[in-house]
């Protein structure tokens, strides 16, 4: 008891994962006054002149959901005087939106919970969408939790898959550190809210011929109404250097590499491929590399074209962060390591020998190609 999600899940699991929606003690019928809620909304997150790509990934998902429901997709943009909200709105339509709601106010320059919660809550109450999607970023999760509580509705965090079941949003997410997946629905409340993990959905195709209307709305609070002040924003110095989520090739090392010195072999291969370096939780905890390189449930979700895992056993917590990679290569001494169950290519052998050999093979091959190209 008293553990969010769990008791329901245990019961559902015990029933052989049968559909248990509509258990005694609560209503699963949508009340009459909420039936007017229509349409799918995507909160479009932007920061220093750029839209976070998770918003476009969500736009692609929203389009699919809306087409199944036969409703419109709307983008929602909040920001300050300096933000190019109209440009972002046009872009949103190219990615699949039919319409955008814009709220512009000086107090919305830079994210703060208080004005953004009020703005988004007011927009929802006035225009009544049935589904509201946000990215599972630090901003999206902060805002979604606040708005859902204010509206008194259901919110499913950090989803990896969105679908429609009947007329309801079926949001699937990993739970228990990624050991299980569960599908969650909000039947008797509106809007149905969910945040989605960056990089779990593919980028939608651009359609330059698409355009849509814009509705603007005023926020209705002023700076003196807001208690929390943003003193400063300090951008990450290495913002562009660690780019795991969007890397085409990732070489990841696990604790099978035994020590920090051997972990350097991962860097060697990555350098030759122009790849990013990833790590498992055990590796970042041991301090062999920085924690922002962690791939997995408590780290980053990645979907590179090539993922090379050396000395990684393939625990479920790691797997959920990388299994949508196009090609997975595993190097491990144990032929029974779980990673070989979902990798495409496997080398059973000692990573300390295989990594240098692989580095040499790629270097020789690519050097030849680059010379030919030059």
């Amino acid at each position: 008891m008293a553990e969010p999600d769990k008791p329901q899940m245990a019961a559902a699991a015990a029933a052989g994962a049968a559909k248990t929606a509509g258990r005694s003690g609560r209503s699963t019928e949508l009340p009459e006054h909420l039936k007017a809620y229509k349409g799918v909304w995507v909160f479009i997150e932007h920061d220093r002149g750029q839209v976070h790509s998770v918003s476009w990934e969500l736009m692609g998902e929203a389009r699919k959901l809306a087409d199944k429901l036969g409703v419109n997709v709307s983008g929602v943009l909040l920001g300050g005087p300096a933000d190019k909200l109209e440009d972002f709105a046009k872009e949103a339509c190219i990615y699949g939106a039919d319409h955008c709601y814009i709220m512009r106010d000086p107090v919305l320059q830079g994210y703060r919970n208080e004005p953004y919660t009020k703005g988004l809550t007011d927009l929802v109450n006035q225009h009544q969408p049935e589904i509201m999607l946000l990215g599972a970023t630090t901003m999206g999760r902060d805002l979604a939790g606040s708005v859902a509580t204010t509206l008194g509705t259901g919110l499913t965090a950090d989803c990896t898959e969105l679908n429609i079941d009947g007329r309801a949003l079926a949001a699937t997410r990993p739970t228990f550190g990624g050991s299980l997946l569960c599908t969650i629905m909000t039947l008797a409340y509106r809007p149905q809210m969910a945040t989605m993990r960056p990089r779990t959905a593919a980028m939608p195709r651009r359609d330059e011929s698409r355009s849509g209307g814009i509705t603007t709305m005023a926020l209705g609070i002023i700076e003196t109404d807001i208690v929390t002040k943003l003193l400063e924003f300090v951008p990450d110095a290495n913002r562009n250097t660690v780019n795991l989520a969007y890397a085409d090739i990732i070489v990841t090392g696990g604790k099978g590499l035994k020590n920090a010195d051997n972990f350097k072999l991962v860097w060697d291969l990555a350098r030759v491929l122009g790849a990013e370096v990833g790590a498992t939780r055990a590796v970042t905890q041991a301090g062999w590399c920085e924690s922002e390189r962690q791939v997995g449930q408590t780290g980053k979700t990645v979907r590179p074209k090539l993922y090379i895992a050396a000395g990684v056993s393939g625990a479920i917590q790691h797997r959920v962060g990388m299994e949508s990679s196009d090609i997975i290569v595993a190097i491990n001494t144990d032929p029974n390591a779980p990673i070989f169950d979902f990798a495409h290519h496997g080398i059973v052998g000692n990573a300390m020998q295989v990594l240098p050999a692989l580095t040499h093979a790629f270097r020789t091959h690519l050097d030849k190609r680059i010379k030919r190209a030059a």
């Binding site: 008293a2 248990t20 258990r23 003690g25 970023t137 902060d142 259901g154 990993p174 569960c182 924003f233």
Partner: protein
């Protein structure tokens, strides 16, 4: 200064296994621990208590055995603890959980006004990060999530300055007390329990509140009834149907052969990957 730290007792997710046939969680032998992120919150609260004096009250909603988690926190130096426990809370999702905890925090505030509520950024079993924002909104307090550092607390001026993790950088924010803070991982190293505190932890009564003690005003907002989300399905992630195409290697020569073979396979099946890699390296 009076700080409330909200914690959750969770199964150690690193040790959880899923039954291969029934797809249910196998909890036998899996230890229950204090949610690790909550310990970063506790340590921060204890540091403020060391500096400003006052008390740190632990708060947890859970089954009776969650008392162990609270005693663990007292052994690190927390002053006292409240366990909100009642069958009526069973089945709560994050919205219902935040309602119950908010009621309890209001009740605790009646004994002594609360300046700050701390919690971890999320739990390791639910991973939602929603209960903290929920409590802040219900209390009408300032919400500061993903806080990596507390820069200053001015008790007389009733202000607090923090750094919080944002996308692509760090925000420095100043707000007023009372506030609710969710702490980021890795912010503090947990202290060791002292012998005195360990003895005290065994002695101090953990107060157990049922729904009436916790001041629940609207019982339709707790437990399953108060939970808008419904879990419709639980299942294990699908295994890929095909296993990896494997090569076993032994001595030096076979290692090189295997690597060349692998390179050929990757680049012949994915020629665009090869082109893009060459382009990236040439740039």
């Amino acid at each position: 200064m009076h700080i409330v730290v909200c914690i959750k007792q969770v199964p150690d997710s690193a040790q959880i296994r899923v039954h291969p046939v029934t797809n249910t969680i196998m909890r036998q032998g899996v230890p229950a621990i204090v949610n690790p992120y909550d310990l970063f919150a506790l340590e921060e609260a204890l540091r403020l208590k060391d500096k400003f004096g006052g008390r740190v009250t632990m708060l947890c909603m859970g089954p009776p055995q969650a008392e162990d988690a609270l005693r663990k926190c007292i052994s690190f130096g927390a002053t006292d603890a409240v366990l909100v426990t009642d069958r009526a809370f069973a089945g709560a999702d994050t919205l219902a959980t935040s309602y119950a905890l908010t009621s309890a925090i209001r009740k605790i505030s009646q004994e002594q006004a609360v300046d700050l509520v701390f919690t971890g950024k999320q739990t390791i079993d639910g991973d939602t990060a929603q209960v903290g924002p929920g409590i802040a909104k219900r209390l009408g307090w300032n919400l500061l999530t993903y806080v990596s550092k507390i820069n200053a607390v001015d008790l007389d001026g009733r202000t607090i300055t923090v750094e919080r993790r944002a996308e692509g950088g760090v925000q420095r924010l100043k707000t007023t007390l009372p506030s609710l803070i969710t702490m980021l991982e890795g912010t503090n190293e947990m202290r060791f329990a002292t012998m005195d505190d360990m003895l005290r932890a065994a002695r101090v009564p953990v107060r157990k509140w049922n729904k009436d003690d916790a001041g629940i005003e609207d019982i339709t907002k707790i437990g399953l009834k108060g939970s808008p989300t419904i879990v419709s399905k639980v299942f294990a992630p699908k295994a890929r149907s095909a296993r990896a195409e494997m090569q076993e290697v032994g001595d030096g020569a076979s290692v090189n052969d295997a690597c060349l073979n692998l390179l050929q396979k990757i680049f012949t099946t994915h020629p665009t990957l090869e082109e893009e890699t060459v382009d990236r390296l040439s740039a």
